[in-house]
């Protein structure tokens, strides 16, 4: 009797996995084959497993007992209208632009805030009188709280006067009458968001434009009074915001119904006005 003939059922059991997977070495496989040929138990196991495998591969396809589509349909964007490929491409194309615009706004806002705070906070504290909370001074540039101290005020206060005299009424004027008592004019008074189906340059944006033009005029007058470094940073920030506005407008022109793009454009214009106001209120260089 050879070693192969000595193979037991237990030994076959331990080799069965490899045998069925075809991973056994040739010698071991031959030993299993020889054992199985003379063993009713082991040959039965192999035959049954072979049968199970064959049956499993032939199992019939099942069908659900109910209609599943209704549940699926309710879950997949109920309001979706079939879109053509071209429209999908448009939708995809504005996503990077809108993302870039949003990122640019964040950078610009953070930069100018940091710069204005670090460079101008000290002089401001000397010149700015605390406005009553919730009072007229809280309404943005419309009621600037700059009160140049007599000791430090520059001899020519025309810029301050311009801020007080021209900006205050104009920003309020830009807002609809019903919203004049609200907060900051561009945020509350000239929102474009409610006009989602309008082209980018609708009346709301024209109101923004008026406000921006007025603020830019103020800043133009004040330009010589501001620190050159501050002016450089302001111009860089404005360029970034303007780029964001342009991108938002371009995307909105392609997809005028997009609420997201409308919000992006509003946000960019808000940021621009916020920045211009901050600049208009910056103290003169000392």
């Amino acid at each position: 009797m050879t070693d192969r003939q000595m193979m037991t059922c237990t030994a076959v059991d331990s080799e069965l996995l490899g045998y069925l997977e075809g991973t056994l070495a040739a010698d071991a496989r031959t030993a299993v084959d020889e054992h199985v040929a003379s063993c009713l138990r082991c040959s039965s196991i192999l035959r049954d497993i072979g049968s199970i495998r064959a049956q499993a591969a032939q199992l019939p396809e099942l069908a659900p007992s109910r209609d599943l589509w209704a549940g699926i349909s309710a879950r997949i964007e109920p309001a979706v209208v079939p879109l053509g490929r071209a429209r999908q491409d448009i939708r995809r194309s504005w996503i990077p632009a809108a993302t870039a615009a949003a990122a640019a706004l964040v950078i610009a806002t953070a930069g100018i805030t940091y710069f204005a705070t670090t460079r101008s906070l000290r002089p401001m504290t000397q010149k700015v009188a605390a406005a009553p909370k919730g009072g007229p001074g809280a309404q943005g540039i419309a009621q600037p709280s700059i009160v140049p101290s007599k000791a430090t005020a520059p001899p020519d206060t025309s810029v301050s006067s311009a801020v007080s005299a021209s900006a205050a009424p104009t920003s309020v004027a830009a807002a609809p009458a019903g919203e004049r008592s609200g907060g900051r004019a561009p945020s509350a008074g000239v929102r474009l968001a409610s006009r989602r189906n309008e082209p980018a340059a609708g009346p709301g944006e024209i109101a923004y434009g008026d406000e921006i033009a007025r603020l830019q005029n103020i800043i133009k007058q004040r330009r010589r009074e501001l620190d050159p470094g501050t002016v450089t940073v302001i111009e860089q920030s404005l360029a970034i915001i303007d780029a964001a506005v342009r991108q938002s407008r371009a995307a909105l022109a392609r997809d005028p119904r997009s609420g997201f793009l409308t919000d992006q454009l509003n946000h960019a214009l808000d940021k621009k006005i916020e920045l211009l106001r901050t600049v208009a209120l910056l103290p003169s260089r000392t």
Binding site: L16, L17, L20, E21, I45, D48, I49, I52, R53, Q55, A56, A57, L59, E61, L62, A63, P64, S65, R66, L68, W69, G71, I72, S73, R75, I76, E77, V80, V81, P82, L83, G84, R85, R87, Q88
Partner: protein, 183 residues
């Protein structure tokens, strides 16, 4: 795995559905729902749960369709989603229930012939019912390998186990099935 034959019209409907056309997606659903349901029901051991998972599969497919590159047939792609959904469902369910029993004791709930399902100690049961009575881990690997034709390496990747583990589970499943079918 076995490569299901892809209907020729799939590619058109896939493109339309990826662009948001729900009717095209419904046609895809009609063409593939039985295969997906079969996989889900067999893997989870329950027709009822299988139907719920089938819905999850098609919802997921709808969400991911814009990312479908067409590198494989739609049927292969949706099949893969189905496997992942079932496996994830099992994991989530396990976490939620904290498993009163070990996996070895977990069997399908309503099997495949609920009214006619004999008890485990019955003299004989058919293969479909016996598969439903397998422990979850062994059942899923048996279905993937012996029914669906996945290779051990593919199963290992899908299930997060080794190919050796997949082979061992498969062998165990086969022996349990033999035992159930020959009693």
């Amino acid at each position: 795995m076995m490569q299901p034959t892809a209907p020729a019209e799939d590619s058109t409907d896939v493109a339309l559905a990826a662009a948001g056309d729900r009717r095209a997606f419904e046609r895809l659903y009609n063409g593939h729902v039985n295969r997906v349901f079969t996989l889900c029901a067999r893997m989870c051991g329950s027709r009822i749960r299988g139907e719920e998972l089938t819905q999850d599969v098609f919802v997921r497919a709808w969400e991911k369709l814009p990312q479908f590159r067409g590198d494989s047939a739609f049927s292969t792609w949706v099949h893969r989603i189905a496997v992942n959904i079932v496996l994830t469902d099992r994991k989530n369910e396990g976490r939620a229930r904290r498993r009163m029993k070990e996996d070895e004791d977990e069997v399908g709930e309503d099997i495949f012939a609920p009214a006619a399902t004999p008890p485990r100690d019955a003299d004989r049961m058919d293969l479909a019912a016996a598969i439903g009575n397998l422990p979850a881990g062994a059942r899923q690997i048996f279905v993937l390998h012996d029914v669906e034709g996945y290779k051990h390496e593919e199963i290992a990747e899908l299930c997060g186990i080794t190919a050796g583990g997949s082979k061992a589970q498969l062998h165990r499943a086969r022996l349990l099935l033999r035992e159930a079918l020959t009693r």
